[in-house]
Symmetry: C2
Subunit: 512 residues, 2 copies
């Protein structure tokens, strides 16, 4: 068959460009929130069982120190024991009961219901998270203290990032003198910036009450938050090895009372606060988080909880935390596998980097750690956007870059559909005996929208066109995107009068 | 137990620093070449079977165009058919025979036996590869034509990269007028730069003969190369869909004659030269590469061959190749799984990026694609270091960065050992009732060497120390490492007189 060069170039390409110009409907989008992972299994089933057995043995025979009275009361009534040296032992029967009654699936609400997330099985969602105290300006390579305005801007930015599904606070604004001001302003800035599900931490149970009262004001009705709790508590519940963090545990009580979903989080550092062998770090962290899950379920069976075992890695030469290593990648993926293996919702940390800049190191450390956690089926992948410097730092450009990365990883999680149509034997037969290429094939036009994800910022030009457009690197392109988004109109889901009322009643410093 | 702060800080840390100062023996190293992957299975077993069935159906009923006479002769004698329109059909019996007799495991020799690689099962090795025509200076952000000196330097650099196990030529030096000069100088520069296994392509079977003759001269004995062939042929054997590349197929005949291992490589572009649905791209590529594997085994049953199905992705808006996408990541991992599922050695492409710079995009695209290919158990992960710009470009700094990335990914592939000792129940018990941290625990000292990999260049300083040392990004640090390595003494495995003899006999332009 004779073909002219013109026909070949224009016929397929123009149709394809036109097709891509039309906005994609939700149904046809190549990726969507909550794709199913679980195809990567870092551990054998037998090894998963061994780690659960070790965690249970620790809780039965070594137990947890520093339990709060309410926890001691509930656990001992359920058959537990307080030892003479103050350690709370959990009987096997209670642990198995917890496995049975703990929530296996639930809805994580957005302020806007269109951002509701259905948590179950090995469905994967990406969340920010972090307690950065430094903010990077990548142009000057300078770090400075984080501020409330930084946090609000980052929440606004996250609102527009398609592949970031929940916004947990990424930083600790540094300008506040009291913990109450910090907690209240943090939670409020998260809500003001996005109508996706948000998450924050609390230094004291009173702050939980305050935040819920503020949010009820926004919703216009006392008790409204508890009906659709759109904020979850991020609770570092232990001081490893095997010791409860008492203040945080008091906060759990308040969160349960307000029907607030939560992470119960153990974040040991292997070789420092948990054992250096990776299996031991997992067993220790699992025991700690599970002890807390047990306590929460004794307060309220089936409360919405993510079991969050985040085994952090130290650089054992210096003891410093290292978030971007290969050890970290396999540990967090294994954590998800272990938790999901008992049907429990898993929260892990991936997307950390030890780099101080949004550079190639940051890219690969994030890419490797998030790809493995996502393929392992982690339900909530925290720390997955914007974080730098082993969690000490954060930056808007990094978030925009990470969003493209998360989309690409989600596309991998979606996997490959294999059926008679996709195997394309007939299409190949036609093409071999026809045009000898697939550019104009109807299959190509259809699949380019449903099967291929196009990044927002990442570069695909050839070197010559790239040079013509200024030879920008990814960080520079991300800066332009940050500017574009932050110049957009702000969300108006908090009416001005409500905002003023809240500022009168609570020490809120945020300007909307 | 009372502890002073001094004891605590010095006791653990100094011992750990001292331990790390000692060079690691091979046995204790946390990663080594050929770790076992296969824990990530992008496809179900049933889907793997379906793709094999589709590939066989294509070969049985659509067949391959443009087979060379030698191939037609062998295949028709084995029951195949040449159709009236010149397509060679492969009978099922011949395809199954190929599955049976094809090499399942073999040694890939280095020039130096210490770099010999044992190829089998799901053992993972990293290789460079590429046909870049542009070299990037990341300081000026300028691309220029690649040269023979660039290739030689890159081979020298790769020699010192611990996690790069074979050096396939990364670029096509641009200064040569004839294909013969290009092929001979390329292969010779690879050998001159490293004593690891090397790999190159050939425009003509004569060039294979020439290169083997040169290498026999280096080894000092005619026929020596064939005894321990340390170079393998990289052969793009098809022009998809389902058409042999005749010149390349002639080269296979020469390579088999010289006992040269080889990749038989299908590199279609989904949506352009292979179907847009990912499953169809895999089926088409598998059919093509397998047809070639069949031909090679008809020449010499059990010849050392990597089945190389590299399904490339196009950006379907423009038709341009895109190497760093999520689709690419899952395709290459699936390719490894499919090939390994029949026990055949797999070669895939991962570590490509569409970025023009060694930036965050390059980092995450490489991290995601290589991590998934490695966890899937790809035997030879080509393109895994130094490549940029959708394979059009390459750069030394990128290779140094990628080496750290590959180490980290290898650490993830090694996984987590779970046994009574690593589960650490006893160590946790002792620690809880003792120092309450693991810094000085004997387990920590032992495991910091055997279980934790420390990167060569990647940054782990805190922001303040990093600023004190000049606020370098990963590319700048890599530049220093490139300079350091290229200033080292060159290898002397090619004696000067032999080099001179070779230069007299062949058009070799390399200065050693």
């Amino acid at each position: 068959m004779a073909r002219t060069k013109t026909r070949r170039a224009s016929g397929g390409r123009e149709a394809r460009l036109a097709a891509r110009r039309a906005p994609l409907t939700e149904a046809i989008k190549p990726v969507h929130p909550g794709l199913s992972g679980g195809r990567y299994k870092p551990l054998s089933d037998g090894d998963v069982d061994k780690i659960w057995e070790a965690a249970f043995e620790l809780l039965e025979t070594v137990g947890m120190a520093d339990a709060i009275p309410h926890c001691i009361d509930l656990v001992t009534k359920a058959g537990g024991t307080l030892t003479d040296d103050g350690r709370l032992l959990f009987p096997e029967k209670l642990l198995n009961w917890t496995l049975e009654v703990a929530a296996k699936e639930f809805t994580l609400y957005g302020f806007d219901p269109k951002y509701d997330l259905s948590i179950s099985d090995e469905r994967v969602y990406f969340s920010t998270a972090g307690a950065a105290v430094l903010y990077l300006d990548p142009k000057t390579r300078k770090y400075r203290d984080t501020t409330l305005a930084d946090l609000y801007n980052m929440a606004r930015l996250a609102h527009h990032m398609e592949h970031i599904h929940t916004f947990r606070r990424t930083m600790v604004p540094r300008e506040f003198k009291s913990a109450r001001e910090l907690d209240l302003n943090t939670a409020y800035a998260c809500l003001a910036g996005t109508t996706k599900h948000i998450s924050a931490s609390f230094f004291s149970p009173d702050h939980v009450d305050d935040v819920v009262e503020m949010f009820d004001m926004v919703l216009g009705e006392k008790g409204a938050f508890a009906k659709r709790p759109f904020l979850s508590g991020a609770n570092t519940v232990v001081v490893p090895p095997l010791r409860f963090a008492q203040d945080t545990c008091e906060g759990l009580v308040a969160q349960v009372r307000h029907n607030m979903p939560m992470d119960v989080l153990s974040a040991g550092q292997a070789g420092a606060t948990t054992p250096a062998p990776l299996a031991g770090a997992l067993a220790c962290g699992l025991a700690e988080a599970f002890a807390t899950l047990c306590f929460v379920n004794l307060m309220k069976p089936g409360h919405k909880v993510f079991l969050a075992v985040w085994p952090f890695v130290s650089d054992l030469r210096t003891g410093a935390m290292s978030g971007g290593s290969g050890e970290e990648a396999v540990l967090e993926a294994a954590s998800a596998q272990i938790i999901n293996a008992r049907g429990l919702p898993s929260s892990v940390a991936a997307g950390m980097t030890d780099s101080k800049m949004p550079d190639a190191q940051a890219g690969y450390e994030k890419g490797v750690t998030v790809a493995l956690a996502a393929q392992a089926g982690a339900n909530l992948i925290c720390e997955s956007a914007s974080m730098l410097a082993s969690l000490l730092g954060t930056c808007n450009e990094m978030m925009v870059i990470d969003n493209d990365m998360l989309g690409s990883i989600a596309r991998g999680v979606r996997g490959i559909e294999v059926n008679t149509e996709t195997l394309s034997v007939q299409a190949i037969r036609e093409t071999v005996h026809g045009p000898a290429h697939f550019l104009g094939h109807p299959q190509t036009l259809a699949r380019m929208q449903s099967d291929y994800l196009y990044p927002e910022v990442a570069e695909r030009l050839d070197p010559s066109n790239w040079a013509d457009l200024g030879s920008l690197d990814m960080t520079e392109k991300a800066s332009l995107e940050v500017e574009r988004i932050l110049a957009m109109e702000k969300l108006v889901h908090i009416p001005a009068d409500v905002h003023n009322d809240i500022c009168k009643k609570f020490p809120i410093h945020l300007k909307l």
